[in-house]
């Protein structure tokens, strides 16, 4: 047994040795990460390029002769343009409107001291912890009472409402980080509130706005419980809803088409994420921990 007598040079050698071991062993967990994360998507994507029967016969991951037939079939589904546009529409509204509302609200919270500020801030932020699915029963009752079940208005209302707390949460911190002096000097030059917001605050907190926008897009594009509960006609479905009923709607189990549809629903968001990744990831964390 070697004892602790030879600390100096042995220690350094041990350090180098352990670094080396670390360097080679790290590929095990890294491999686990890659396999765990990509397998479901890769398996679905490969199947979407196969021919329907090939999925049953072949054991290979790669398609024999990759074809986009399944995607063509998805795009030419009778309702597809409508479902796609529904998703785009609710996502656009549920991103732009909450961003505007949250920006001015965040400005008020970050810049003014006023009575009930804390209570109002809590009222804005607490709804963040309400799980969407829990609210579908009373909100169905509300939309029924207003006569806006199965309508865009109903979806807009509920989507916007659930996005406002999220965006406000994120933006308050960003607005608070804008130096007051900048705004003061603009104000001395005669800039009113809207001018200061537009030309001083917004440019300064642009990374925060982009992050909030991506998070709003993500929530709305992927939303399911509300659209499931509040719509009942085929024309009102968004992509996740159609994906949910697709298996029954197709009659036969065509896994190529099924997987192509899945990939089509996740692709737009993944592209957005890959484009903005470097800029938003750290902000997502800071937003979540705020």
């Amino acid at each position: 047994m070697t004892t602790a007598s030879a600390k100096g040079p042995v220690g350094r050698r041990a350090l180098r040795a352990s670094r080396f071991a670390q360097g080679s062993l790290i590929w095990l967990p890294a491999l686990l990460l890659v396999v765990w994360t990509s397998t479901p998507i890769l398996w679905a994507f490969m199947a979407s390029l196969k021919e329907p029967l090939e999925i049953y016969e072949s054991t290979s991951l790669l398609p024999r002769s990759p074809s986009l037939d399944a995607y063509r079939e998805v795009i030419t589904m009778r309702g597809f343009p409508r479902w796609f546009l529904n998703s785009v529409l609710v996502t656009a509204v549920a991103t732009v409107v909450p961003l505007g509302l949250s920006l001015v609200a965040a400005y008020a919270f970050a810049r003014y001291a006023f009575r009930f500020r804390h209570v109002l801030l809590l009222l804005f932020l607490i709804p963040r912890i309400l799980p969407r699915v829990a609210l579908i029963v009373p909100l169905y009752d509300l939309l029924h009472g207003l006569g806006i079940l199965n309508s865009y208005t109903g979806l807009f209302l509920t989507y916007i409402a659930s996005a406002v707390p999220l965006a406000t949460w994120l933006l308050v911190g960003f607005v608070a980080g804008v130096p007051r002096e900048l705004e003061e000097s603009a104000a001395i030059d005669g800039a009113n509130l809207w001018v200061r917001l537009r030309y001083v605050v917004v440019p300064m907190i642009w990374p925060g706005i982009v992050t909030a926008a991506v998070l709003c897009v993500r929530e709305a594009w992927n939303e399911f419980p509300f659209v499931l509960a509040f719509t009942n006609s085929t024309e009102m479905r968004t992509l996740p809803y159609q994906l949910y009923v697709l298996e029954d709607a197709m009659g036969i189990q065509d896994w190529a088409v099924y997987n192509a549809f899945t990939i089509m629903t996740i692709l737009p968001l993944l592209i957005l994420y890959l484009l903005l990744e470097r800029r938003i990831v750290s902000n997502i964390v800071s937003g979540a921990l705020k």
Binding site: G11, L15, L33, T168, R218, Y241
Partner: protein, 299 residues
């Protein structure tokens, strides 16, 4: 009294109102829709509601019938186990992933980007992909099992196995965000601490046990609470993966609430279940706040 960046004295009353006016539109949406939802749910829970949404006040009758309902009790326990296994698996995975992403030198950017991908996939798409993965005739998992000479399983036809698949799919969906939280904690640790410990002869396990773990404890707490919150309210993945079956083996509280409300059309009892979900989540969030405050930052 409003103190403003710049106050023009002549318009003092106007500026005093400014913050409230700025808050108003957002607040109307939040209170008018979400706030209304909570209050209205509490009111509905005290009523018998028929299929045409006509109400009759019945006091706490709905509570009595929900709490004594064996199907509810079973779904509550199922939820607890679902959350427990989801957290155990997800915390282990996200800790391994975060440590890897923190140390890895090659392909670092690629791995980081990849690790967050499931965060942007919808719950429904997640469910469909996992159902395909575990499909008994065309799934990858059974293909692999048969390739190594093991019998394929009817994963989604068996009560226990389908519960396992739900936990796995849920973990896939929630791990990325937890990884992100833990990674942000790891990145605040001073590298020199590791080197110093190594020079003193501490092995990898001890460095992890006595340096890494204590330093990321607040982040572990945050991700723990976040994971349990996400799992408790999980609906999308389970409803699209198993629909609560087979034989109700995966019917958690949120799915049962949907059944009661939109299949049995009993909005009174469904509202009681909604309040159960809200109560659990509120409790979790209080814990979250505690952990958060102990973590040392401010809201």
């Amino acid at each position: 009294m409003a103190t403003l960046v710049t106050g023009r004295p002549a318009r003092k009353t106007a500026t005093a109102l400014t913050p409230y006016l700025l808050l108003l539109p957002g607040l109307l949406f939040v209170l008018g829709v979400l706030g209304y939802g909570v209050v209205s749910g509490a009111v509905l829970s005290l009523h018998e509601v028929d299929a045409f949404l006509n109400r009759r006040f019945v006091g706490f009758a709905n509570y009595a019938s929900v709490f004594s309902d064996p199907r509810f009790q079973a779904s509550l326990w199922r939820t607890v186990w679902f959350v427990f296994y989801s957290i155990a698996l997800s915390l282990a995975l996200s800790l391994v992933f975060a440590l890897t992403l923190d140390r890895v030198t090659r392909a670092r950017q690629f791995l980081r980007g990849l690790s967050l991908v499931p965060y942007f996939v919808s719950g429904i798409a997640t469910a469909v992909m996992w159902r395909f993965l575990f499909s008994s005739n065309v799934g990858l998992v059974n293909r692999i099992l048969s390739a190594i000479g093991l019998p394929g399983q009817s994963w989604l036809g068996d009560p226990t196995l389908s519960f396992v698949v739900c936990v796995l799919a849920n973990a896939w969906f929630i791990v990325p965000f937890s990884t992100l939280i833990l990674l942000s904690g790891l990145q605040t640790i001073d590298r020199q601490l590791y080197d110093a410990a190594r020079i003193d002869g501490a092995g990898g396990v001890r460095v992890f046990r006595y340096i890494t773990l204590p330093l990321i404890k607040p982040m572990l707490g945050v991700s723990l609470i976040w994971l349990s919150y996400a799992s408790f309210s999980m609906f999308d993945i389970i409803v699209a993966l198993t629909g609560g079956g087979p034989f109700r083996a995966t019917e958690v509280v949120s799915l049962y609430m949907y059944q009661v409300g939109f299949r049995f059309l009993d909005f009174g009892e469904a509202s009681v279940l909604m309040l159960v979900l809200l109560a659990i989540n509120t409790l979790l969030s209080l814990v979250y706040l505690r952990v958060f405050v102990i973590g040392g930052s401010e809201a």
